[in-house]
């Protein structure tokens, strides 16, 4: 026993505590080894860069979902939000490059707005976020199909698509650097800074114990609402990158919400809030993407993939849940 003092940073990062990123790093490392065994050239810089670029939207969604989950809520609407955004963008841009930037701005505002509505309904009307965002999911999907008569119209401009699809070519050492990767890196840095900021710590505090937070002057409802807004914004950026990567389609966002939640949980974040890091969540997403690529390399039959995915999620979560429980038993 001694009085408190800061301990050196490396030690803090490496301590294996519940919600830490060690387990997800271990899983990621194993997957990388498996990739290296099977497909060594995948780890060459250019293809690795492409992989990271194409994974950017999913990683961003996981980060957005993290904000909501760590504050103790759920966001099931992000997948439908991505679809809606991509379809809306195509119809508004209608292949006219000059409309690109206004539409991008509009998407960001729209994403934030959907998050705001989710957040306000959840915090002010006290509807459980599972239900709020499930309702929002149905509304968004219905509305976007309704608005576009069941088939996406218009088209995305090359300007718009560039960010999800193109790269700086002929970069020394790395080969190519996708724009999406740069966007991702900037946003990852922002997310990490945000989580280290006052707001970020307050967000985790709200997820840990909203009563304590409230009695310490935190406006819990406002903090959680902002988390939803961040999730909406992340979905908007993901939609821009995803639309850019693959073009307009109703399938753009299908199932992404479950993917994001899975990634977040895989990254060591506790459902119910208060524990886990945004880096872990994003690594969780990266791990899932790598898993899918790995299954392509190993030729796992398309139909069996969900089984592999399900089994890995259950195992990873079960292991961390029991570890957590045994630690709690110590106190």
């Amino acid at each position: 026993m001694r009085t408190v003092q800061p301990r050196p940073l490396p030690m803090r990062l490496l301590r294996a505590r519940p919600g830490g990123i060690l387990p997800i790093l271990a899983i990621l490392a194993v997957l990388l080894v498996l990739v290296a065994l099977r497909q060594p050239d995948f780890l060459a810089p250019p293809s690795l860069m492409s992989f990271l670029g194409r994974s950017a939207p999913v990683i961003l969604l996981a980060a957005g979902q993290y904000f909501v989950i760590v504050s103790g809520e759920f966001d099931l609407s992000v997948g439908s939000l991505v679809t809606a955004q991509v379809v809306v963008a195509a119809r508004l841009i209608d292949s006219d490059p000059s409309r690109t930037w206004p539409v991008v701005a509009l998407l960001l505002v729209g994403g934030a707005l959907v998050g705001l509505v989710n957040g306000l309904i959840t915090t002010r009307l006290r509807v459980p976020s599972f239900i709020t965002t499930l309702g929002m999911f149905l509304i968004l999907v219905g509305a976007v199909y309704l608005w576009s008569d069941g088939a996406p119209k218009g088209g995305l401009s090359e300007e718009f698509r560039r960010y999800g699809r193109r790269a700086f070519e002929d970069v020394p050492v790395l080969g190519r650097v996708p724009y999406a990767l740069l966007v991702l890196l900037v946003l990852v840095a922002l997310a990490v800074l945000l989580m280290r900021s006052d707001f970020g710590r307050t967000l985790v505090a709200v997820g840990d114990n909203p009563r304590t937070a409230e009695l310490s002057g935190v406006r819990v409802w406002r903090t959680r609402t902002i988390a939803f807004v961040l999730s909406g914004l992340a979905a908007a950026v993901a939609a821009i990158l995803l639309g850019g990567y693959s073009g307009v389609s109703f399938q753009a966002g299908v199932g992404l919400e479950f993917g994001a939640i899975t990634a977040v949980v895989l990254g060591g974040v506790a459902l119910g809030g208060g524990r886990g890091s945004v880096v872990g969540a994003m690594l969780g997403a990266l791990t899932l993407e790598l898993l899918f690529a790995l299954m392509n390399f190993y030729g796992v039959s398309g139909a069996l993939r969900s089984t592999v995915q399900g089994a890995i999620i259950l195992l990873a979560v079960a292991v961390s849940a029991t570890r957590n429980a045994s630690r709690q038993g110590e106190t």
């Binding site: 001694r2 408190v4 505590r17 307050t202 009563r211 304590t212």
Partner: protein, 503 residues
């Protein structure tokens, strides 16, 4: 009422218990006869709750034996004790508000006929149980959530009786009750007694103790001081035995006349659901002690001042200017800090680091005021100043002892330089060393010009720390005492020793 029988229902012999090396019970003996009401009194920290938890099987004693109905028993848990016939009625009820009285009473052992829950039988038996304790007006199929506190307590008692309890432990049963509800409880206790059920009755309210009990065991600092026949003793004598002590604890010097500053805070006729006509004045530099029983409105006062459950009537001024304290946030912005009584439930962020806990309020309310590095540095200084002991400031706070957790909470508030501090039981569940440190800190804050309001159930603490004491009862301020008042005076105000019972 009755002599102790040759075979007592419960016999405790030499019960001892330690927590973390601190001895909280020393060789306590206690006998309880069937049909006897045996009161256990003592100050907070005297060991009453620990003793009751040992009897009800929640704790195992380190030394000594528990004999129940003539047999030595070792209970493996509350369920074990329940099956043996020992029921406990907690201060916080273990009831499901959405379920009916009968469903609650028989939860876990519903009467079945041919494999099915016999609702009619359940309601009938509940009715019988309720009738047997004189509660004929309480329908067994009402959801518990619709009942008043007193009736919920009746349900708790019925729940214990449904398990054929022969011994009932009542821990501060009147804490949450209004006056007329206490009357109902009296009748209830007498009828339980008539049925030959033994009662261990833990209470601070001496009136009740004298009204109900056959014998009284006084505990102090984990020792049994004495066991007295109620009929042979007086309130005065009892209070002397409870509090009679050598001054074992040093308290910091009180404020001198020069230390007192201007009036910081006034409340005129403040009221809400739990408070009525509260008038209060708090000066800079003073420690105002607030005494009273649990449920008397002490905590409600602090929570009203902090905007958690704001005053709905009356007026509050701060430094002479009227203010509306409508949320914790506005209160904090006005320079008020609140150290809550329920540290685990609303004081700490269990899974966050010591540092994050210390920075919580500053980050939330004054994020823009100072730089992050400066704030973190300040928090570290404060954590060191209050002498928090932890493996590091990144350790999760749940791994710290209660005293250290409380120090972190203090550091959180000190970082805001509050002008008014509200302490609700700041030393509850904290070891002696940490206690003294917190006392020193409180006084130092006052000396530096803060106005301090401190709630405490612990009379020596209240008397030792306060420059002035208000005592609350039934949501009102029952009276004010100057520094140097006696424990008897406080207790007399708190229990309303002079009141006439309503019949």
């Amino acid at each position: 009422m009755s002599d102790p029988r040759p075979v007592p229902l419960l016999a405790l012999r030499g019960i001892g218990k330690s927590f973390l090396g601190v001895r909280v019970l020393h060789g306590v003996d206690l006998d309880l006869a069937p049909g006897e009401v045996h009161a256990v009194v003592g100050e907070n920290g005297a060991g009453k709750s620990t003793l009751m938890k040992i009897v009800s099987g929640a704790y195992a004693p380190d030394d000594g034996t528990v004999e129940f109905a003539g047999e030595a028993r070792v209970f493996r848990g509350p369920r074990d004790a329940q099956r043996a016939g020992i029921g406990i009625i907690h201060q916080e009820f273990n009831l499901l508000p959405e379920r009916t009285v009968a469903e609650n009473v028989y939860l876990g052992h519903e009467p079945v006929r041919r494999g099915l829950v016999d609702r009619r039988e359940m309601v009938r038996r509940t009715g019988q149980l309720l009738a047997s304790i004189g509660e004929t007006a309480l329908p067994a199929d009402t959801p518990v959530g619709r009942l008043g506190v007193a009736q919920q307590q009746v349900v708790e008692i019925a729940k214990a009786l449904a398990l054929d309890a022969r011994l009932l432990i009542m821990d501060e049963p009147t804490a949450a009750l209004a006056d007329h509800e206490v009357e109902l409880l009296y009748g209830l206790v007498r009828r339980l007694q008539e049925r030959g059920i033994g009662l261990l009755y833990v209470s601070h309210r001496l009136t009740e103790v004298f009204d109900l009990s056959d014998r009284i065991t006084v505990l102090k600092d984990g020792h049994r001081v004495d066991t007295l026949w109620t009929a042979d003793t007086t309130a005065g004598e009892l209070v002397r035995r409870m509090v009679g002590r050598e001054l074992s604890h040093y308290y910091p010097d009180r404020a001198g006349p020069d230390d007192l500053g201007p009036v910081r805070l006034t409340v005129r006729d403040g009221g809400n659901r739990k408070l009525r006509g509260v008038d209060l004045e708090l000066r800079a530099g003073e420690v105002l002690g607030v005494g009273g029983l649990q449920g008397s409105g002490r905590s409600a006062l602090a929570r009203a001042l902090f905007g958690v459950a704001p005053f709905t009537s009356g007026a509050v001024t701060l430094d002479g200017a009227p203010v509306r304290l409508r949320s914790p946030r506005t209160a904090i912005r006005a320079g008020i800090a609140y150290v809550t009584e329920d540290r685990k439930g609303e004081g700490i962020l269990a899974r966050q680091s010591v540092l994050d806990n210390a920075l919580l309020a500053g980050r939330a309310v004054f994020a823009a005021r100072s730089g992050r590095t400066a704030r973190t540095g300040r928090a570290r200084e404060l954590l060191a100043a209050v002498e928090v002991r932890a493996a590091g400031d990144d350790q999760e706070i749940r791994f710290l002892s209660g005293g250290n957790q409380q120090k972190v909470v203090l550091a959180r508030w000190l970082a805001l330089d509050p002008r008014i501090l509200l302490f609700d039981e700041p030393t509850r569940g904290i070891d002696v060393g940490a206690k003294a440190a917190i006392h020193d800190l409180v006084r130092r804050l006052a000396r530096e010009g803060a106005a301090v309001l401190m709630i405490s159930s612990e009379l020596p603490e209240l008397l030792g720390m306060s420059d002035r004491i208000v005592v609350m009862r039934d949501g009102r301020i029952a009276g004010e005492l100057p520094a140097g008042a006696t424990e008897e005076q406080v207790v007399a105000l708190a229990v309303d020793a002079t009141r006439e019972r309503v019949q």
